[in-house]
Each structure stands twice: as C-alpha cells, then as structure tokens.
C-alpha cells in the first residue's frame, strides 16, 4: 500500500528498518519519508505492538547533544525521552526528526541506543520479527550528530 502523503504529513509514524549492522526505529515527526521507507507500512504496526509485549530492559546511551539540538530544558528533555527510552531499552537504535514543522526537511538525529546492542539475529528471535524488514544499503550514522536521512536510504 505505502504511506500516503496525507498520512505522512498528519502522523508521527513509527518506522522500523535495518542497516547492515543494526535494527532501527525512527519517529517520522509528521515529515515526508524517503521513498525507500514508504513500504514499511506493511509491518510497522505489528513490529511496534510486538516489541511492547517484551520487557527487555537494556542499558541505554542517550545522545549527549539533545539539549543543544532541540533547545530543551531539563523537564522538556525528560518528557522528550520517554518514548525513545522505551524503544532503545528493547535493543533498537532510535532516531527522531530534528526540526518539527518543516515537513520537507530530512534531518534526523540518534536519540538513544542500547549500550551493548543485541545481535540482529537475537532481536529477530526475541521479537519474532521476520527478516523481511526493509534494509538500507548504507550505514545510518550513530555518532549523535544531525544527518540527512535521504542520503542514507
């Protein structure tokens, strides 16, 4: 089916995909998705519901640059992190759209990642995720800086 443009622009979607060494969650922030991720609508909802049935609680590294990137105070940062921590502690690298309100901007940043990432096979096994997730040929940056997602999908 693929996400329609209306869906992309009116919803903050949970998108899951792989690169060559990690399993990635991305919050779309009501922005336009790169073409390579449009077909993830086939499985995103089922992956999301599956991962919340598991209580994995890994230690997490949080992006140390978030207050600068997002201009948040302490309370704002705590509120911001809730959903991303929930995903990262379950073994996912979780990314967010950097600038909300500009839906044609493809800048993203890594919010949080597990300190000791699980092997891809272990995640598939833990969450019963089939290996048919869309895979990027490029490595998505995990150095906590802002990057243009479209260059990596």
């Amino acid at each position: 089916m693929a996400y329609s443009l209306i869906e992309q622009l009116s919803r903050d979607l949970d998108i899951f995909f792989l690169d060559n060494n990690k399993i990635i969650h991305l919050a779309s922030g009501c922005g336009i998705l790169p073409e390579g991720l449009l077909e993830t609508d086939i499985y995103n909802d089922s992956v999301l519901s599956t991962i919340f049935q598991n209580n994995l609680n890994l230690e997490v590294d949080i992006n140390p640059n978030l207050t600068d990137i997002l201009n948040l105070d302490n309370q704002g940062l705590n509120n911001y992190l809730v959903s991303f921590m929930d995903i990262a502690k379950r073994g996912f690298y979780t990314y967010d759209k950097t600038r909300l309100g500009n839906n044609e901007d493809f800048d993203f940043h890594l919010v949080a990642k597990p300190k000791s990432p699980l092997r891809r096979g272990d995640i598939f096994e833990t969450y019963k995720i089939k290996q048919e997730l869309i895979t990027s040929k490029h490595t998505i940056p995990d150095d906590f800086t802002i990057f243009n997602l479209r260059e990596f999908i």
Binding site: I6, S10, D12, C30
Partner: protein, 121 residues
C-alpha cells in the same frame, strides 16, 4: 490568545496519550470562554465540517489538497475549531483561541502551519 486552562488541558491530554503510547497525531486545544475542546490532526470529515470553516479553507485550496506544504483540512486546529463552531456557530474564525499544538511522543510544541495562520488569524 490561549488561556492557561486551555494550555493545561491540552498538555494533560498530550501526556495521557504519551502514557498510552499513542504518539501518532498532533493535538491542540481550541476554545472560547467556558467552551473548550481538544482534537487531533487528521483529515476532517467532509460531511461534518462547519460551513464557515469550509468556506475559509476553500480560499486556500480544496480540502485534502496540498498547499503551503500541508494538506488543507488535516490539521489539529481545523478539527478542534470545527468542534467549537458546532457549539458556537456565530463565532468568527479569528475569535477561536488555541493552545500550543503538541506532539504527544515528545511533548514538543509544533509550530502553526501557514494554512492555519491564513485560516484563523
């Protein structure tokens, strides 16, 4: 200008959605004096939209077509304002007060889009 009460209601509503892990839509509070409603982004039903609001939106473009980067009739502002107009039909569009729009995933404020500025200012 939004009242403190309206801002608080919208914020609490967004927090409840965050707790339920229901992150997908932007929410906003709209109101006039005692009457306040919270609603979310998404295409408004063409059958339920108040005439005055539909007319104003049509000066920007047809419903569900893209103008100024966003789809006409799909913002949380439109859905919330429509609820207010159904209760207070004599209200002018620029008399409706809005809270900040909030994304429940991160609780960040979402900037008002150009279409909503044209419609409600």
């Amino acid at each position: 200008m939004a009242s403190v009460v309206l801002e608080r209601r919208a914020y609490k509503h967004a927090l409840r959605l965050q707790m339920r892990k229901d992150y997908s839509a932007t929410i906003i509070g709209a109101g006039k004096s005692y009457y306040k409603r919270i609603d979310r982004s998404g295409p408004i039903s063409p059958h339920n939209i108040f005439h005055k609001l539909k007319s104003k939106l049509s000066t920007i473009g047809e419903l569900y077509t893209r103008h100024n980067g966003n789809f006409v009739g799909c913002c949380a502002e439109v859905n919330a304002a429509n609820q207010i107009l159904n209760k207070l039909p004599h209200l002018k569009l620029n008399q409706i007060n809005f809270s900040n729009a909030i994304g429940p995933r991160t609780m960040q404020k979402i900037p008002t889009c150009q279409n909503c500025k044209l419609t409600f200012n």
